[in-house]
């Protein structure tokens, strides 16, 4: 049967009207439903591939426990939260397009855990431009006086870390030390301060080595170090480099005391070096100089409890228990959630300026250690100061917090604080 043009037009119009009628309510209702039940996303923007592929799981070990305790307390402003792992791919050339894709792909993104020393300089400006808070683990000195209002850093910068390592050498009674740092950006963040600090506190620097990372052998370097007879080595290098260097040091028969930084508390580093020199040698020689975290604090207990309960999302969760980066990432997510509660808004551009209001001390503020306690106090109209698993987190005007330092040793399956470094001791090394 021939269908006239007019009939076809009428039929098509009727069809379109019918379809619109069916879709419109669904659109409206789904949009409304989206608004009331939409999940807020925290991106874990770290390396999940390449040589630093452990950074992603490390950050996830902070994010997922936070996700758990926030959702257990009813979420943020009625919204559940979720952590979204996103591979930063290990170098700035890949991290930049990945960050742009992340920003463009979702309107539910409210905060980011990201920006390691390998890519922070490249990606922080992107999240700054997008108006999304990014809590970074980079220690680079270039961020010590950052003007990026959406950049936040809980852990101490590398410059303070380096000074703390030299102060620790003095506190431990060493008078002749050597410094061995990898030539990558992460290790070189601490190196200048450590070397300067050794001189400032009048220790004898018997050898100062900057080693090319990822080499097949460091035998010549190791022999030069051994001939200088240091009592202790202040060191930071990636797991592979450290394993090769220390294994060749052990072969020459002498592993002096090691003064290391939080990198040495990462499971990957310990696995690599233990494989190279043995657990008993490492545990008996290593002193880790790390941000002071009171292990018996309520916040830390809340973190470890949530971490253990997150085993489905965080494989082998206990390996991250003492990892300062995981702990800092946990605090980061809780802080962002509390800031949203205080701001009564999940919009990053609104709640960003409330971050210091929930962390820095203020008159009459109630000190809270968990998200639930903080949410409850805010609901009662109180001001709060969140003191997290990393301890008190007080941001300066460049959005850097930093804490005191402690010297820890690994014994009986756990890290134990053997000494704290006072502000005066660290200041003497700066």
């Amino acid at each position: 049967m021939k269908i006239s043009t007019r009939m076809a037009t009428v039929g098509a119009s009727a069809l379109i009207l019918a379809m619109s009628s069916a879709i419109a309510p669904a659109w409206g209702s789904s949009k409304a439903a989206h608004k009331s039940s939409s999940t807020l996303e925290f991106a874990i923007f770290h390396d999940y591939s390449g040589p630093n592929a452990a950074y992603g799981p490390e950050a996830a070990a902070g994010c997922f426990p936070a996700e758990r305790i926030i959702n257990a307390a009813g979420g943020v402003l009625g919204h559940p939260v979720t952590c979204v792992p996103t591979d930063a791919k290990g170098d700035p050339a890949d991290a930049v397009p990945a960050a742009n894709r992340l920003i463009a792909s979702t309107s539910a993104l409210v905060g980011v855990l990201g920006g390691g020393s390998d890519d922070a300089t490249a990606i922080v400006p992107l999240f700054q431009q997008a108006g999304i808070p990014i809590f970074s683990t980079t220690g680079e000195a270039s961020f010590d006086h950052s003007t990026a209002s959406y950049f936040w850093r809980i852990l101490s910068p590398d410059s303070a870390q380096g000074a703390a390592m030299s102060a620790a050498a003095k506190k431990l009674g060493f008078t002749k030390v050597a410094t061995v740092f990898g030539n990558d950006s992460s290790a070189q963040g601490s190196a200048p301060a450590a070397i300067l600090g050794v001189g400032k506190i009048h220790l004898k620097l018997v050898a100062n080595q900057t080693i090319a990372i990822g080499q097949l052998s460091y035998r010549s370097e190791v022999q030069k170090l051994v001939s200088s007879k240091p009592q202790a080595i202040i060191s930071e290098a990636d797991p592979q480099t450290s394993a090769t260097y220390f294994s060749e040091l052990a072969q020459l028969g002498t592993v002096p005391s090691l003064i290391t930084d939080p990198v040495s508390q990462e499971p990957n580093w310990r696995t690599a070096v233990i494989g190279a020199i043995g657990k008993s040698t490492l545990n008996s020689k290593d002193y880790a100089v790390v941000a002071y975290e009171p292990a018996n604090a309520p916040a830390y207990k809340a973190y470890t409890g949530a971490l253990k309960a997150s085993a489905k999302k965080v494989p082998q969760p206990l390996q991250w228990e003492s990892d300062p980066y995981s702990v800092a990432d946990y605090d980061s997510v809780v802080i962002m959630a509390l800031a949203m509660d205080m701001a009564h808004s999940s919009s990053p551009k609104v709640y960003n300026r409330y971050i210091t209001k929930v962390t820095n001390p203020s008159a009459g503020a109630v000190v809270v250690h968990t998200y639930a306690a903080g949410k409850k106090a805010l609901a009662q109209g109180k001001h709060i100061q969140y003191a997290g698993a990393s301890g008190a987190i007080i941001f300066d005007r460049w959005h850097n917090a930093g804490q005191g330092f402690a010297i820890e040793r690994y014994k009986n399956g756990n890290w134990h604080i053997i000494s704290r470094l006072s502000a005066a001791e660290i200041k003497a090394a700066i």
Binding site: A212, S220, Q240, G253
Partner: protein, 295 residues
């Protein structure tokens, strides 16, 4: 003087590890004309095979031998399943390089998905050094040097005095003429891939013993220095790869001992550039530039 002797000794150990890997790389290229940038991934895979065997209780040297055979099989399969198909379709040399890069990336990421981002170590006792004429070497290192010497000798003898070796050399010079002369090309090519994979396996275990710990990307991260040694000596020349490995190994250790440890690789690559400027084909290579890929 003893520092110099030590540096030479250390350089020889490095050279031994590099030589095995570089000869495997260059041997396969000389026969097939495929610049295989997935070679590092084969090293990693075989290193993990050895890890599995060693972890199950086998001593490291037996694990190395079995893993090396596994490396041979992996290499043959890679060529049969992937590379030869592209070669038969007439893909350009540059295109083949891209295919090998892609294959390597797939392998590396697959290995990482299986083993995770952690680091692993072989179950070997920690050894002390022996002072041999001023050179400080462990028993393990002496064994690696011995393995390298035996392997290089066998390679040289095999290439020069066996029918298979003669066929390989014929293919490397002129594949069309070799084919026309009745050389069973496919079998010879398969043998080249197998030999390359075996040497990748031995080189990998020696390398991972040396570094103390290894991960999913360790083999690929050392590929550039393996290729540098092969190119320096002349790609396609087994003897050249040995000389290249010695130059790279010793120069890096001398640079670290007497100059700046941070710049040890700079010295090695500067030497590479100077040699290639003077002799672009490398020290020993006599390969024709008009060769095509053989699958």
């Amino acid at each position: 003087m003893s520092e110099f002797a030590s540096a030479i000794g250390f350089g020889i150990v490095t050279a031994a590890i590099l030589a095995v890997s570089s000869v495997g790389f260059t041997l396969q290229f000389s026969v097939t004309n495929v610049f295989n940038l997935s070679y590092g991934s084969v090293m990693t895979a075989t290193g993990f095979i050895a890890y599995g065997l060693n972890n199950a209780g086998l001593n490291i040297w037996s694990s190395m031998a079995i893993a090396a055979l596994g490396g041979g099989v992996i290499s043959v399969l890679m060529n049969w399943l992937i590379f030869s198909r592209f070669i038969r379709h007439g893909l350009s040399r540059f295109g083949m390089v891209i295919v090998t890069i892609a294959t390597g990336l797939i392998c590396d990421n697959t290995i990482q998905a299986v083993v995770g981002p952690s680091f692993y170590s072989y179950n070997v006792p920690l050894e002390r050094v022996h002072d041999i004429g001023g050179m400080l070497l462990t028993t393990q290192e002496l064994i690696v040097i011995a393995i390298a010497i035996v392997l290089m000798t066998l390679t040289h003898v095999g290439l020069k005095y066996t029918r298979l070796g003669t066929a390989m050399r014929g293919l490397s010079v002129n594949s069309s003429l070799a084919r026309a002369s009745g050389v069973p090309t496919r079998r010879v090519v398969a043998a080249a891939w197998f030999a390359s994979g075996v040497m990748a396996g031995i080189g990998a275990v020696a390398l991972f013993l040396d570094t103390g710990a290894f991960g999913a990307t360790t083999g690929s991260s050392f590929l550039i220095i393996v290729i540098a040694a092969a190119v320096l000596g002349g790609v396609g020349s087994a003897e050249g790869a040995v000389v290249g490995a010695l130059v790279v190994g010793i120069s890096t250790e001398i640079a670290a001992a007497y100059w700046n440890a941070e710049l040890k690789n700079v010295v090695a690559f500067l030497i590479l550039i100077v040699v290639l400027l003077v002799r672009p084909q490398g020290i020993f290579s006599q390969l024709s530039s008009e060769r095509t890929a053989v699958g």
